[in-house]
C-alpha cells in the first residue's frame, strides 16, 4: 500500500485549453490522446469558474483537481480521490507562487512560453515521480532560477555575439507583432 501523498499530474494550460507545459506522474493516462482527453475535460469543467483569487477545487473521474487561473494561464494539480485536498492545494500554491517569482510578476502565456525552461525546472523541483519534493515557493524559485541564459539579463554581461543574437530576436519579435 502506498501511503505518501501522491500527485498524479501538473497541468499548465492556456486560455483555450491547449498545453503550455504538462507533467504526468501516473499511469492513469497511458497515451498522449488519453492525456489530451483528460486535459480537455478538466479545462471544460473548470473554464467558467472564477479561480483567480483563491485556489478552487473539483472532483473529476475519481480524481481531485485543484486549480487556479491568472491572465490567460490555467494551473491544475491532480491527485487521487482519497487525497488530502489541502496537500494538493499547497503544491499548487507552491507552483503558482514560484512561477510568479520567476516571471517577475508578469504571469501570462507569452511570458511563460518565453521562459519555458524555467517552468520545466519549476515542475522538476516541486514533484519527483509523484512525490512532493518541495512546496515553499521561494525555495523552488531559488532552485529553478539559476539560469545564465536569461534573455533579460543586462547586456553588459553578455558577449558581443550573444548581444547581437538577442537584438536580432527582439527585432524579429517586434516585426511579427
Amino acid at each position: 500500500m502506498e501511503l505518501p501523498p501522491k500527485v498524479k499530474n501538473i497541468l499548465l494550460l492556456n486560455s483555450e485549453g491547449k498545453r503550455v507545459a504538462v507533467k504526468y506522474y501516473s499511469d492513469d493516462w497511458p497515451t498522449n490522446s488519453a492525456k489530451e482527453a483528460f486535459e480537455k475535460s478538466v479545462f471544460t469543467k473548470t473554464q467558467k469558474t472564477n479561480a483567480r483569487t483563491e485556489v478552487e477545487v473539483t472532483a473529476l473521474e475519481n480524481n481531485i483537481v485543484v486549480y487556479k487561473f491568472v491572465q490567460d494561464l490555467h494551473f491544475f494539480v491532480t491527485g487521487g480521490e482519497e487525497e488530502n485536498e489541502l496537500i494538493l492545494a499547497s503544491v499548487l500554491e507552491g507552483l503558482f507562487d514560484a512561477v510568479t517569482l520567476l516571471l517577475r510578476g508578469n504571469v501570462d502565456k507569452r511570458e511563460a512560453l518565453d521562459n519555458l525552461d524555467l517552468i520545466f525546472l519549476c515542475f522538476d523541483e516541486i514533484i519527483d515521480g509523484g512525490i512532493v519534493l518541495e512546496t515553499d515557493a521561494n525555495v523552488i524559485a531559488g532552485k529553478a532560477g539559476i539560469n545564465s541564459a536569461d534573455p533579460n539579463a543586462p547586456l553588459s554581461e553578455q558577449t558581443i555575439s550573444q548581444a547581437l543574437a538577442t537584438a536580432r530576436e527582439h527585432l524579429t519579435r517586434s516585426l511579427m507583432k
Binding site: 472532483a59 485543484v66 512525490i131 539560469n147 507583432k177
Partner: protein, 886 residues
C-alpha cells in the same frame, strides 16, 4: 466537413499571436541539436535547443529510438560546460529521454562526478537523475555515495537521496533496506521536508513488519514531528496501525485515538483535515469519538478558502451515509453552502442535507434546491435527483412537494442520463407510494408529449399500460398515448399500440373506442406497428368467453416466466434442428452466480498453489457438472440445486459442504471436499450416508473421489431414489471415509502406503424448501389476481417471541425458500407490522404465491397471517404444512 475548416482558422489565429515555438518542427530542432557537438559550447544557445526539445516532447511528439540515442549522445558532451543553467537543462533532458541501460554507462561517470561536487545543486540533481536511469548492478557501485547523501547537511541533497530511495525501493528493495540507519537519522532532521521524506521511506522499508511499524508510530506520536506533511503521513500510518490492531482482535480503549484527537488542534489546516478524516473513517467509530472531528469540520465549512469548504463538506457527506445524526449540527452551515460559487461544493452540501434532513425541513430544502438546479451541470443534477428519490422513500408523506419538484425539472432542458434518472425516480415513487400514482402518471404523460428519447418514451408507455388501467379514470391517459401514434417514430408507435390494447382489455368501457383507434393503426407505414395492431384487434375482438380472456390476459400481461439471462444462454445453445425450441427447457432458477463468486474470492486470500479447479457453483455450473456424469443423465431435468450447506466446522482438517440436487424422482448429494493439510494426500474419498431417518429415500449409487490432494477441492456424490414428484423429507447422517497417505512437503511426493480413516460429518436434512425454486414475478399484484381465489388457503400462526420483526420474516423466507418480491424483504427499522410478498415454483412446476402479514405486540410476540395461492390447491396446503411443521 465544416468542423476541420473552422479548426484550421483557429490555428491560424494562434499563429498570428507570437510564440517562441511558432512553426517549430522536429526535424529542424534535431538539426539544431548538432550545436551540442561544437568544440566551443555556447551555453545559451544549447539551453534554448534543449528547451525546444523538451517543448516538443511535452506537446506529445515522440522521438524514434535512433533520434533519441543521437540526441542523448550529443547531450552528454555538454557535461564539459561549466554553465550551471545549462547543466540543469542537461539533467532534465536526460530524464526525459530515459536512455537504455547500455547508453547509461556514458553518463554514469559524469553524474558520479557531479554527485561528489561541491555545488549542492549538482549533487542533489545528479542523484535524482542517476537513480532514475540506473539498474541494480550500477546501484551497488554508488550505494556508498547515496548513504552519504542521505545524511548530507544540505536538506536539498538529503531529500533528493531519500526520494530517490522511495523510487528505488520498488525495483531494488534489498539494497535500499540496508539504508535504514541513515534514514532513521533523517527523521531527526531539522528540515521539514527531509523529515517527511525520511518518514515515508522508513515506513516503506518496514511496512511488512507490523511490530516495527507500530513501534515507529508509537515513538513518533509522542515526539514532535515538525513538518505538516510528515504529520499527515504519521496520521495515515497511525490509522493503519489502529486498523491492524482491530483486525487482530485487540479490544478495549482504542489506542492512539488521543493522538488523532490532539492533531485536530494542530496549527496546519492540512493536518487538522487529515486527522478529522482519519477519525471519521475509524472502524465502528462512536459518536463520542466523532464529535471533535465534526466540530473542526464544521468550522471549515465557513472558511473563505474553497478548498477547505470542499474538503469539509466532502468528508461530512461520507459521514452522513453512516452517521446522519452526527452531521445534523452542521445543517445550518451546510444550507448556506447551497449558494456557493463552487458548484461541486454546493452539490455536496445538498446531497448531505438530503441525507441528514428531517421531515419538517424537506419543503424549505426543496425551495432552495429549485433555485440551484438551473445553473449546474447534468452530472451534478443526477446526484441530486438520486438523493431526492431516497428522501422520498424515507419520508413518504412528503411525496407531494418532491413529486412537484421532479416534474418541474423533468420539463427543463437536460441530457438523456439526467432525464432517465428523473423518470426512474418518479416510477420508484409511484410504486412505493400509492397516493402518488395518479399525479405521477400524469407527469409522465406530459413528459412523453415532448420527449426526444425513444428509450424513455417506450419505457413510460409500457409502465402506463400496467398502471394506467387501474386508476380511477383510465380514459384521461388515452389521449396522450394515442398522440404518440401520430407523432412519433415507429418504435414508440409500436409501444403505444401495445399500451392502448392493454387499456382496451382491462377497461371494458373503453374497449369499443380503443378498437376504433387500433383500427386506424393497421394502415401504419411500419410493419411492426401494423402487426401489433392487427394482433391486438383480434385479441380484443374475441367476445369475452372466460377461456380466451385468460389466454389473452396472459398474452398481454404475462411476463416471460424465465429469467432473460437464462433464456439467452438457452437460445445460444439451441442448434437448429427438426425439434422446435421449447421454452420450458429454459432453467427458471434465478442465478446467484455473482454473489457466489464474490464469496469464493473472499474465502481464498492465499495466493499459493495452483488456482483451484473451476468453481462449480450456480445452477448452470451444476447442470453442466451433473450432465457430464453418465450415471446421472437418466434422471431427467435438474429441478433445483440448494445452496452449499457446511458439514464441518470452519478451519478443521477437512472442509466439506454439500449441495442437494433435486430431480423428479432422485436426489443427488454433491459433497464438495477440501483437504487443508499440506502433508496429506487423501485417496478413495467416499461418504457413507445413513438414511434410517429418511424412510422414503433409498440409496441407489455413490461415486467416490479417487484422489484429493492438498487445497484442490473435489467432489463425491451419493444418489437416492424417492417417489416421483413427491416432496419427501428426511434426515441423513454422513461419515467421510478415505485412505490417508503422507506427503513429503519438500518434494510433494506421496508415500505408497496409506491408512484407512474416517471422519464424522454433521447431519444433513432434505426439507420442503428444497422443493421450491425461487422465481420472481415482475408484478406481484397481477400475478396474484391471475391465480384462482378459490384455491386460496389462509391460516394464522403464532411465531413466539423474537428480537425483531426482521428476524421472524427472515426465518419464514428461509423456511419456504421463496423469492421475495417488490423489495418486501427489507423492513423499516422499529416497524411493528409488515407484509412480505413471496413467489416460487414448487416441484411439479406449480406456481405459488404467498402473502405473509406479520404483526408484533408489546411483549414482542409475533403473529403471522399466511395467505397462499397456488395453481394447485394441494400445493397451497403443502405450504401451510411446511410452516406448521417448521
Amino acid at each position: 466537413m465544416a468542423q476541420p475548416l473552422v479548426k484550421k482558422d483557429d490555428d491560424h489565429d494562434d499563429e498570428l499571436e507570437y510564440s517562441p515555438f511558432m512553426g517549430i518542427e522536429k526535424g529542424a530542432v534535431l538539426q539544431e541539436a548538432r550545436v551540442f557537438n561544437d568544440p566551443q559550447v555556447d551555453p545559451r544557445r544549447c539551453s534554448q535547443v534543449i528547451t525546444k526539445l523538451l517543448y516538443l516532447l511535452n506537446q506529445g511528439e515522440s522521438f524514434t529510438k535512433v533520434e533519441a540515442t543521437e540526441v542523448f549522445f550529443s547531450v552528454t558532451k555538454l557535461f564539459q560546460s561549466k554553465d550551471t543553467g545549462l547543466r540543469r537543462m542537461v539533467y532534465l533532458i536526460i530524464k526525459e529521454l530515459s536512455p537504455s541501460s547500455d547508453e547509461v554507462i556514458i553518463v554514469t561517470s559524469s553524474l558520479m562526478k557531479d554527485m561528489n561536487s561541491k555545488i549542492d545543486m549538482y549533487r542533489a540533481n545528479a542523484i535524482r537523475v542517476l537513480c532514475r536511469i540506473i539498474d541494480g548492478t550500477l546501484l551497488t557501485q554508488i550505494e556508498r555515495y547515496l548513504k552519504q547523501a542521505i545524511v548530507d547537511k544540505n536538506p536539498v541533497v538529503s531529500s533528493a537521496a531519500l526520494v530517490s530511495g522511495l523510487h528505488l525501493l520498488k525495483t531494488n528493495p534489498e539494497i535500499v533496506k540496508r539504508w535504514s540507519n541513515e534514514v532513521q537519522e533523517g527523521i531527526q532532521s531539522r528540515s521539514a521536508l527531509v523529515q517527511f521524506h525520511a518518514l515515508a521511506l522508513l515506513h516503506q522499508i518496514r511496512q511488512n513488519d507490523r511490530l516495527a511499524v507500530s513501534k515507529l508510530v508509537g515513538s513518533l506520536t509522542r515526539g514532535s514531528v515538525r513538518s505538516p506533511l510528515a504529520q499527515c503521513l504519521l496520521i495515515r500510518y497511525t490509522s493503519q496501525v489502529i486498523r491492524d490492531m482491530a483486525n487482530h482482535g485487540q479490544s478495549g480503549e482504542r489506542p492512539f485515538y488521543e493522538f488523532l484527537e490532539s492533531c485536530l488542534r494542530h496549527k496546519a489546516e492540512m493536518v487538522i483535515l487529515e486527522a478529522a478524516r482519519a477519525i471519521t473513517e475509524l472502524d465502528g467509530v462512536t459518536s463520542r469519538e466523532l464529535t471533535p472531528a465534526i466540530t473542526v469540520l464544521q468550522l471549515f465549512l465557513s472558511s473563505p478558502r474553497p478548498v477547505l469548504r470542499f474538503a469539509a463538506v466532502r468528508t461530512l457527506n461520507k459521514v452522513a451515509m453512516t452517521h446522519p445524526m452526527a452531521v445534523t449540527n452542521c445543517n445550518i452551515d451546510m444550507e448556506s453552502l447551497i449558494s456557493d460559487q463552487n458548484r461541486s461544493i454546493a452539490t455536496l452540501a445538498i446531497t448531505t442535507l438530503l441525507k441528514t434532513g428531517n421531515e419538517s425541513s424537506v419543503e424549505r430544502l426543496m425551495k432552495q434546491i429549485t433555485n440551484f438546479m438551473s445553473d449546474i451541470a447534468d452530472e451534478f443534477k443526477i446526484v441530486v435527483v438520486e438523493a431526492i428519490r431516497s428522501l422520498c422513500v424515507k419520508f413518504p408523506l412528503k411525496y407531494r412537494s418532491l413529486m412537484t419538484f421532479l416534474s418541474n425539472i423533468l420539463r427543463e432542458e437536460g441530457g438523456f442520463e439526467y432525464k432517465r434518472a428523473i423518470v426512474d425516480s418518479i416510477v420508484t415513487i409511484i410504486r412505493d407510494i400509492p397516493d402518488a400514482k395518479e399525479s405521477g402518471l400524469l407527469h409522465l404523460c406530459e413528459f412523453i408529449e415532448d420527449c426526444e428519447f425513444t428509450y424513455l418514451s417506450t419505457q413510460i408507455l409500457h409502465f402506463l399500460g400496467i398502471e394506467g388501467p387501474n386508476t380511477s379514470d383510465p380514459s384521461k391517459y388515452i389521449r396522450y398515448i394515442y398522440n404518440r401514434v401520430h407523432l412519433e417514430n415507429a418504435t414508440v408507435r409500436a409501444a403505444a399500440v401495445s399500451t392502448l390494447a392493454k387499456f382496451g382489455f382491462m377497461v371494458e368501457s373503453l374497449k369499443p373506442r380503443i378498437t376504433v383507434l387500433l383500427k386506424r393503426c393497421i394502415y401504419d407505414s411500419d410493419d411492426e406497428v401494423r402487426d401489433r395492431a392487427t394482433l391486438y384487434l383480434s385479441v380484443l375482438g374475441g367476445d369475452g368467453t372466460v377461456d380466451t380472456d385468460k389466454e389473452s390476459k396472459d398474452f398481454l400481461f404475462g411476463s416471460l416466466d424465465v429469467p432473460l439471462v437464462n433464456m439467452e444462454t438457452s437460445l445460444k445453445n439451441y442448434e437448429p434442428s427438426e425439434e422446435a425450441f421449447d421454452i420450458n427447457s429454459v432453467p427458471k432458477e434465478v442465478k446467484s452466480q455473482p454473489l457466489a463468486e464474490k464469496k469464493a474470492q473472499g474465502k481464498k486470500p492465499t495466493g499459493l498453489g495452483a488456482p483451484p479447479a473451476a468453481p462449480t457453483s450456480g445452477f448452470d455450473g451444476y447442470e453442466k457438472l451433473l450432465s457430464s456424469i453418465p450415471e446421472f443423465t437418466a434422471f431427467g431435468k435438474l429441478f433445483k440445486s440448494s445452496l452449499p450447506v457446511e458439514l464441518t466446522e470452519a478451519e478443521t482438517e477437512y472442509a466439506v459442504d454439500v449441495v442437494k440436487h433435486i430431480f423428479d424422482s432422485h436426489v443427488v448429494f454433491q459433497y464438495n471436499c477440501t483437504n487443508t493439510i499440506p502433508e496429506q494426500l487423501l485417496e478413495r474419498v467416499n461418504v457413507i450416508v445413513d438414511a434410517s431417518e429418511a424412510e422414503e429415500f433409498s440409496e441407489v449409487t455413490s461415486k467416490a473421489l479417487n484422489s484429493l490432494p492438498y487445497d484442490s477441492p473435489g467432489q463425491a456424490f451419493v444418489v437416492f431414489e424417492k417417489p416421483a414428484g413427491v416432496p419427501a423429507i428426511g434426515k441423513f447422517s454422513n461419515t467421510l471415509t478415505f485412505v490417508v497417505k503422507e506427503v513429503d512437503p519438500s518434494t510433494g511426493e506421496a508415500e505408497d502406503d496409506g491408512v484407512e480413516d474416517e471422519y464424522q460429518l454433521e447431519d444433513l436434512e432434505v426439507v420442503a424448501g428444497d422443493y421450491m425454486v425461487k422465481v420472481g414475478v415482475s408484478n406481484f399484484r397481477n400475478a396474484w389476481d391471475s391465480l384462482d381465489e378459490e384455491d386460496e388457503r389462509v391460516d394464522e400462526y403464532g411465531l413466539g417471541q423474537r428480537d425483531s420483526l426482521g428476524e421472524a420474516v427472515k426465518a419464514v423466507i428461509d423456511l419456504l425458500g421463496m423469492q421475495t418480491c417488490e423489495g418486501t424483504e427489507t423492513i423499516p427499522l422499529n416497524a411493528r407490522s409488515h407484509t412480505c410478498l413471496l413467489s416460487g415454483v414448487y416441484i411439479g412446476n406449480v406456481k405459488v404465491l404467498v402473502r405473509a402479514q406479520f404483526g408484533m405486540d408489546s411483549s414482542k410476540d409475533i403473529a403471522m397471517k399466511l395467505t397462499v395461492r397456488a395453481e394447485d390447491v394441494s400445493v397451497a396446503e403443502a405450504i401451510h404444512e411446511i410452516v406448521a411443521s417448521g
